[in-house]
Every structure is written in C-alpha cells, then in structure tokens.
Symmetry: C2
Subunit: 133 residues, 2 copies
DNA sequence: TCGCTATTGATAACTTATTATCGATTGTGT
DNA sequence: ACACAATCGATAATAAGTTATCAATAGCGA
C-alpha cells in the first residue's frame, strides 16, 4: 500500500506553502530543509505520483522545465519575472471574448504567460529603461 | 563571405511559404522536397544563421522544441490544434488592458497560446464532446 | 518490537534536441 | 574553367532533464 513517508510529506508541504510554482531544484532545496537526505530521484518520483493522484499540476513555460503547484488553485495564469526568474500566479479573470481566434477554430484552453518585473524587482522610480510594454 | 546556397534558399523558402510556424523536422522534410540531400545539421545551422540575420524568429511553446516563422509578421500569437498538432498564427489584437497583472508588477511582453481545434479538425456539427472552453 | 515490503538515495542510463567535427562538395570571384 | 574557402552531409558528441537500477532504509500491520 501507499506509505506516508517524511519525504512525500515534505515535498507536498513545500509545494503547498510556496504560493507560486516551484521548479524541481527549488523543491529539492526546500525539501532538504525538512528532510536533509532528500534526493533528486525521490523528488521526481514523488512529483510524478502526486501528479497522477491529482494533488499537483505541472506548470509549463516555453523553453523551460516543468514547475509544480497545487491543483486546488483553479483557473489562472502566470507571470515570470525577467529579473529574479520566479514565476507567480495571477488570478485575474480573462474572458474568452478577450482571446479571439479565427472563425471555425474552437478554443478549448489557453496558456497565457506575462513577462516583466515582479514587485520586488521593479526598478526605482526615475531609473532608466523601465517603461512597460 | 556568405554564399547563396541551394540549401539556404530552400530552407528560407519553405518557412516563407508555410504560413505557419514550422518545426525543424517539418523544415527538413519540406526542404528535402527541394534539395533531396538536405541534412538535419544544415537545417539547424541555417536556422541559427537566419535567426541571427533577422529573417526568422523562433516560436516557443511550452514543453516543445522551437518552431520557426518569418520575422515580418509583426505582433501576433499562436493557436495549437490538439488534433493535428499544427500551430497557426493569430493576428487579432490584444490590448494590454486584457492582460491584468498585480499592482506593482510591470508587464513587458506576453506569450499567449490557444489550444483547441483548427478549422480542418473541428468535429462535425452534432457530434459529441465538442463544446468550447 | 518484528518482519515484510514500499520507498529511498546514489548514481548510471537514457531521451530528445541541438551542436561540433571533419572530409567532401560547391558557390563565387577572377 | 580554376582555385579556394564557405558550406554541406553524416555522424559523433554534448547538454539538460528525467528515469531506471538496486542495495539500504524505514513505514506499518500484527
């Protein structure tokens, strides 16, 4: 049967408490703060299990390895900071009307990724090179 | 100096005429219809050159290898058909107002990918399992 | 607490995409 | 047409991420 190991609890714990999608390396580091012996193999194994069981979901960004977050967040999209590389959840609602497609095309889902500066990395007022798109 | 080879002409030709972003394998196959000896190494080499020279751009989708399209298309986004896996350009305009981010976050750019059925793969009217998102 | 077996940790192996190597080929200026 | 270097084709090498292997460890029911 399925066992309730320290490693599994630690991994689900750090993902649940992160508040944003975590990379496998982030999960490894944060998990090792709870279970120091934690191995990257166990991280991958457990992420696969937790995904299969429906607890977490992979977050896919172009050209990057999957990140993971808990399933219960509902529909949302993501913001990647071009300075610190962290990815944040955005829960504002986008209506399908805002996502036009050609006639005869059926839109079933979408991925929207915003790129820019998060609140921690926003340049000070008045510094150069900081206009928004 | 830079030479005007059959391979280079064929590769830029198939990308220009495709009307949608092509994968490296698609470029190889279509290019071999023009220059049968065309090698995958030449495809990668030429794609890198054409990108550096500004003729083409990589199109990045989550979890997939880069596709390529000509630069002159201007701002647009992409639609991936979940049936035939082809990627299409969408030239409808999206306003920044439609892409809300948290206060203090600066949006510099975005990637938007719609998933669904293209006009060729849309199920016939009345068939089951075909509601839009 | 004992014993069984699921799970772990360390690392080798694998996968897929891309790049490097190098002898053969082929544009291009003369 | 010639010469020569840019480019090509075939394939080995690389890179990053993920998975497999297997002896050691540790949940969990009795």
């Amino acid at each position: 049967m399925e066992r309730n190991t320290r490693q599994r609890n630690a991994i689900l714990g750090v993902i649940s408490e992160a508040g944003r999608p975590l990379s496998t390396q982030e999960i490894l580091i944060k998990g090792q703060a709870v279970v120091p012996s934690l191995s990257i193999a166990t991280v991958y194994r457990t992420l696969k299990d937790l995904t299969t069981e429906g607890w977490i979901l992979p977050v896919k960004l172009p050209g990057e390895a999957d990140r993971y977050e808990v399933t219960k967040l509902g529909e949302h999209y993501h913001f990647k900071c071009s300075s610190c590389s962290k990815v944040f959840d955005i829960h504002e609602r986008i209506t399908n009307n805002n996502l036009p497609a050609p006639a005869n095309f059926i839109v079933e889902s979408y991925d929207l990724i915003l790129y820019g500066r998060c609140s921690e990395c926003v340049p000070k007022r008045g510094s150069p090179g900081s206009r928004t798109a």
